[in-house]
């Protein structure tokens, strides 16, 4: 971490940790600004930009038209010319509107220009289902981003990690996506008052264990932790790892764990098929093949869009129960 944490940690909800992270970036970096749909006057549709307009004014906290391609493009152009934009993409589902700017401009500009461009841009976005927002407002599309050389991708699950990821992303001089979770807005957690970084590319062993490894990220971390408690009953001492950063991925931490536990499972909220869990599972079997006592299991959403109904959505999103059940299945219990 970049600086000592002198202040006491307070308990803050996830949403307030986000705001505090952005606020401290704006205080720290005079060329940083925040732009997005309804981030200024309304303080963001999730409240995550609350108070920033009042404190920093219209020059640095900017409401944009509903033009996702334009907004990301604005961020790319401003970053390439010396600003440090923080761009908000209200729902991760809206990536489709700006995927060219993300994939072909933001991710590739530095490389295509032989290193001549530097793009210190942070994109904040909200993923996740669970609020009956149906197929176009509930997706977790991190797999698309992780497949794109040139981007860094973080997916913080806790208030502490949310604030520290945003600060780390904004201090990094590369394009970084910070994928937040809309179900977690009210989740409380300890958050130091001073600015701090959650280091990019370093996984967190959230729960040490000895004979089973779960790699879980985003909101699924919390479900996995509950599942881990449940598995204790069967003598399973689960190590739960939150990679926090998906790209660059901290392979070493995961492999070290699996070499110790010999069994692993990946958990994410995204559709399981061709999800990022596949990459992690593929890596584990490549790099710890001789240590594995069972196939690497994967938990993710089934192969359908996210359904709206309260009668369906809870059966779509993985949870502690389904995670524990899949763990038992894979462990032969």
């Amino acid at each position: 971490m970049a600086e000592a944490q002198t202040t006491e940690a307070r308990t803050l909800p996830y949403v307030a940790a986000i705001t505090e992270g952005i606020r401290q970036v704006l205080l720290e970096q005079e060329n940083a600004f925040v732009a997005g749909e309804d981030v200024a006057g309304a303080g963001g549709v999730y409240g995550s930009f609350k108070g920033l307009l009042a404190e920093f004014g219209e020059r640095r906290v900017i409401d944009t038209p509903i033009s996702e391609a334009g907004i990301i493009g604005l961020g790319v152009g401003a970053a390439a010319t010396g600003c440090r934009p923080i761009i908000d993409l209200m729902f991760m589902d809206f990536l489709g509107e700006c995927m060219d700017e993300v994939a072909n401009q933001m991710a590739k500009m530095r490389f295509m220009f032989g290193g001549a461009a530097q793009l210190p841009i942070t994109v904040l976005t909200m993923a996740g289902a669970g609020l009956n927002l149906a197929a176009q407002h509930s997706q977790s599309l991190e797999a698309w981003l992780c497949h794109l050389p040139g981007l860094k991708v973080m997916m913080p699950a806790t208030p502490y990690d949310a604030k520290g990821s945003i600060i780390a992303a904004a201090r990094d001089s590369n394009p970084v996506f910070v994928i937040l979770n809309k179900m977690s807005l009210g989740l409380p957690g300890e958050v130091p008052e001073d600015p701090y970084e959650v280091p990019i590319g370093v996984a967190n062993i959230v729960r040490p264990g000895t004979n089973f490894t779960i790699v879980a990220f985003g909101r699924m971390l919390h479900e996995a932790l509950t599942a881990a408690e449940d598995l204790k009953a069967d003598g399973i001492d689960t190590e739960v790892i939150d990679p926090i950063t998906l790209q660059p991925f901290d392979t070493d931490t995961v492999i070290d764990s699996v070499k110790k536990t010999h069994r692993a499972m990946i958990v994410h909220e995204a559709v399981r098929f061709a999800g990022f869990g596949a990459e992690i599972a593929a890596q584990i079997q490549e790099l710890a093949f001789d240590y594995l006592d069972a196939p690497v299991a994967r938990v993710g959403a089934p192969f359908s869009p996210v359904p709206f109904s309260p009668g369906l959505e809870p059966h779509y999103v993985p949870n502690a129960k389904t995670i524990a059940a899949e763990a038992r299945r894979t462990l032969g219990l």
Binding site: A42, N132, L133, F303, P307, F308, S309
Partner: protein, 325 residues
């Protein structure tokens, strides 16, 4: 068609507006009662637009809608039972509970869906209009989008293609002055979205969206033009939404003044129209009251139907992802 609406048409439009108004007011209550999960975007205040346009359309004509889509479906003839069931997430709903408010649709009525993506409707409507021209079936497509949506690239691309191919389509901008919490002056440097029509080689028309007869006339002209091979029109209807962007609060919002709301409500589309209908002796107060009562009765039935309907069975989750022959 570009002539004045006859008495039957006036009564028809009145009924459509009343249906929307009560449906939406009731939906607001249901939301507050915790009956409607997810997000609810109410159409109240904008009824004259849906009614004045849809009355020109047959079931074979198509529309695409927005996140604020109930009014469009109702005006196109939507079934209250299936609508409420969908809003409640029930198996008997229009989408079997899979879509909810933001994806409500009725393909048999040519209602190609509400849409959770701002600006997504126009390209799809262009496709429907293209298919109409391809099949030479005389049908017209109408696409609704907001002032906020007009800044999405997809709307631009759709408009350009509509103009280029001279498609049988009417592009209706429901300009209610806000995109979410952002006033129009903070999302575009123009007052009339219709000014963009010239850039697509189509006529741009501005109409008072609170006056159903004005909407009727302007829409009639545009739809006639589309149907007879004269190509598209950009029809901008100036209007206002009474409630918040999402949910049911109407007053005391930070991004607009209560005075502004009250000013617009003085020109409430239903009040205005009812005054005119009674002035012109087309409907008596009693006639109108009867319409309101009938609609309310239908809503009671619909809510009962929705309440009594089962949730979709979890086993249906993977149905409808693909068509299986």
């Amino acid at each position: 068609m570009t002539s004045q609406p006859n008495d039957d048409t006036l009564r028809d439009m009145h009924r459509r507006m009343v249906r929307i108004r009560h449906f939406e007011e009731t939906a607001g209550k249901m939301m507050e009662d915790g009956k409607i999960p997810g997000a609810l975007h109410l159409y109240v205040g904008q009824e004259a637009i849906a009614a004045g346009i849809m009355v020109h359309l047959a079931d074979t004509d198509q529309i695409t809608s927005t996140h604020r889509g109930h009014g469009h479906l109702i005006a196109k003839g939507g079934d209250f039972n299936r609508m409420y069931a969908e809003l409640f997430g029930k198996a008997t709903g229009y989408c079997k509970g899979k879509g909810g408010s933001m994806h409500i649709c009725d393909m048999d009525l040519g209602m190609l869906g509400a849409n959770g993506i701002v600006g997504a409707g126009p390209p799809i409507a262009v496709g429907a209009a293209f298919a109409n021209k391809f099949k030479d079936n005389g049908a017209v497509a109408v696409t609704f989008f907001g002032d906020g949506a007009s800044n999405e690239g997809s709307v631009h691309e759709a408009a350009n293609m509509a103009g280029l191919f001279k498609l049988p389509i009417v592009m209706v901008c429901e300009n209610n002055g806000y995109g979410e919490y952002t006033a129009q002056k903070n999302h575009q440097a123009i007052v009339d979205v219709a000014d963009r029509a010239a850039g697509y080689g189509m006529p741009g028309v501005v109409v008072d969206g609170m006056d159903v007869v004005a909407v009727y006339e302007a829409a009639g002209e545009a739809i006639d033009r589309a149907r007879s091979g004269g190509g598209p029109t950009l029809l901008e209807c100036k209007t206002y939404r009474y409630y918040d962007h999402v949910g049911v609060r109407g007053m005391g919002l930070s991004y607009r003044t209560d005075e502004e709301v009250m000013e617009w409500k003085k020109r409430d589309p239903i009040d205005l129209f009812e005054a005119r209908l009674s002035e012109q002796d087309i409907m008596s107060k009693d006639d109108m009251a009867a319409v309101h009562e009938t609609v309310k009765g239908e809503l009671d039935v619909a809510i009962q139907f929705a309440n009594d309907s089962p949730m979709p069975d979890p086993s249906t989750l993977l149905d409808d992802v693909y068509y299986v022959a």
